[in-house]
Symmetry: C2
Subunit: 366 residues, 2 copies
Amino acid sequence: MSNDFFSTSNRIKSTPFTSRNNMAGVKKYSVYNNTLIPTVFRSLKSDYFHLIKHVQIWDVCCQKVIEVRGNNALSLMKYLFCRDFSKIVSGKSYYAPIVNFEGGLLNDPVVFCVEKDHFLISLSDSDLFNWVSAINHTKEFYADVNETDILTIAIQGPKSEKLISKIFGEEIKFLKYFNFKKFFFNKESLIISKTGFSKQSGYEILLTNPNNGILLWDLIMEKGKEFNIKVGCPNMIERVENNLLSYGNEMTNKDTPYDCGLGKFCNLETEYEYIGKSSLLKQKQVGFEKDIFKIHFNYEFDDQPIFFNNLPVFKKGIEIGKATSIVWSPKYSKYIGFLIASKKIMNNLNDYYILDKGKFEVSEIL
Amino acid sequence: MSNDFFSTSNRIKSTPFTSRNNMAGVKKYSVYNNTLIPTVFRSLKSDYFHLIKHVQIWDVCCQKVIEVRGNNALSLMKYLFCRDFSKIVSGKSYYAPIVNFEGGLLNDPVVFCVEKDHFLISLSDSDLFNWVSAINHTKEFYADVNETDILTIAIQGPKSEKLISKIFGEEIKFLKYFNFKKFFFNKESLIISKTGFSKQSGYEILLTNPNNGILLWDLIMEKGKEFNIKVGCPNMIERVENNLLSYGNEMTNKDTPYDCGLGKFCNLETEYEYIGKSSLLKQKQVGFEKDIFKIHFNYEFDDQPIFFNNLPVFKKGIEIGKATSIVWSPKYSKYIGFLIASKKIMNNLNDYYILDKGKFEVSEIL
């Protein structure tokens, strides 16, 4: 099936679950960290309504995982990330922006603190391994930094807790948001984390054995029948409605965390140095130039595409930026999306902002 | 058109020439450096026969280009690459492996020496920008290192010289292999280099203005009519027949240049240090463990797939590696491909090597 969409090669990896996606009738794939990721099963809208009502299983093996271990692991992690890791706790996971020396975002991974000398970095879509390796070596941390074969399955949706406790027992109900625990399946340990790329509540399961992966996938599908489980994938409508940003879509290495609402995950008052800190401090002094805006607009024309990748945004005829991830929202009965733009230009939110050469009007900017 | 193959997004870029590929009836795309690259137009075989007889125009904008400039640019380049750059000459391009501190391949780009303080690195499929930036900063070179918007068009095939001299004049006939020159088109400068990912002779054109890109593309198509030009793409059959390796397919960061026949592009006797040199020297002392082998085999079964991504290779029932980029070769009337494997295991080339659980026999190993 994937053969119809893509020219497959060693460069673009399928996953142990690609066959399961295909069996479930995946309609479209994308590529994320050189790995196939499904993007649509029935339709964006139908997938969305199912996700917010029931439970889905997702193949998110594209969330490649880097492992950092050893005596200097924590020192390296503190030097790499903007988030204050001085009080990091094992068993917790952390959404953590990572920037270059100029403060530009390189990735926005979730960091799992397995032990104080053992971390997993679950990546969004950019190759961070070369960066981490280079810093580790040139700054003489010499921690053990490795690409892993960890496979990630996500269970997302309001019925996810009922389903997962049926398989792994009642104690999982006590797992708090951004906490994780080791469990056993088929005599091998795996990690279950209360995280995931939706706001419908859910879990991510990290495991290493592909055979166990398939066994577990099939068991989840079997046990999930009573909850109306379907194979799904991160849903563009759901994530935009809930302000979940996507690295490479909304923000790139041209944006700082403060340019896109991720400043709350950075600490510029740490007692230690980290990459980008001095640059971000300088920018803070003069004021961060950009901000991220949510746009809502009505659409007056006949064709109704379910989404637009990019739409130029105009103020009085001058293009001020590109709106991203624009999608039809059933919840708001409007198109919604994001815009990173200069705060100065966006000072008067009552101005009209005309998109796509006059086709649309922005009715609201949040 | 690309919408039928891929779920498009900001993460996966189309190019200014994607519309031209679509108009020409592209059948399949892949993703390379987060950018669309066509892989098949008519069929692999039909594209192949056309390429080795006529001339093709390729959209290879996926060959992302990093620019390195400034006083310390040459010092940085020498520290980054295994190839001896102490006598680098402006106007020449260099196929140059780049490795990590352990000697593992990170990329095998073509480096253009524009001036002694100005380099372009035209990448194969891996994100090298983070690596170069990290080294540049932590090792305090502070050269200007930037991602560029350079667009690359390739003109490949035996009739490429006739076609390109018709557009840019007779002097281009004096351009030697791996040399390049500045030319002007529509009052803007561009680079034409006698390079490309085929062995059929050809050129790569590097330019920055997308409007000029389309103008030039259409002019090449117009002037190319008498040479039977077609829109094409790097052809798997042609490259495997001619031993052109593809980063991510044949070799990864688990292989050194010496493991895959690229030792001739490295110099372990430079008078200066570079990344990976000490590690490669150590490995040389004990002997490099692996080598790359060309495999040829007959196929006895009814179905005749045009290619296989990967086939496990067995020696006396034990898997010794995976053969890559296996494709039906019209020239040899056999399947051909590559295998990186331990030299020790491959010591007796007269042994049988059974692929794919006994389905095939290797008839020849070069």
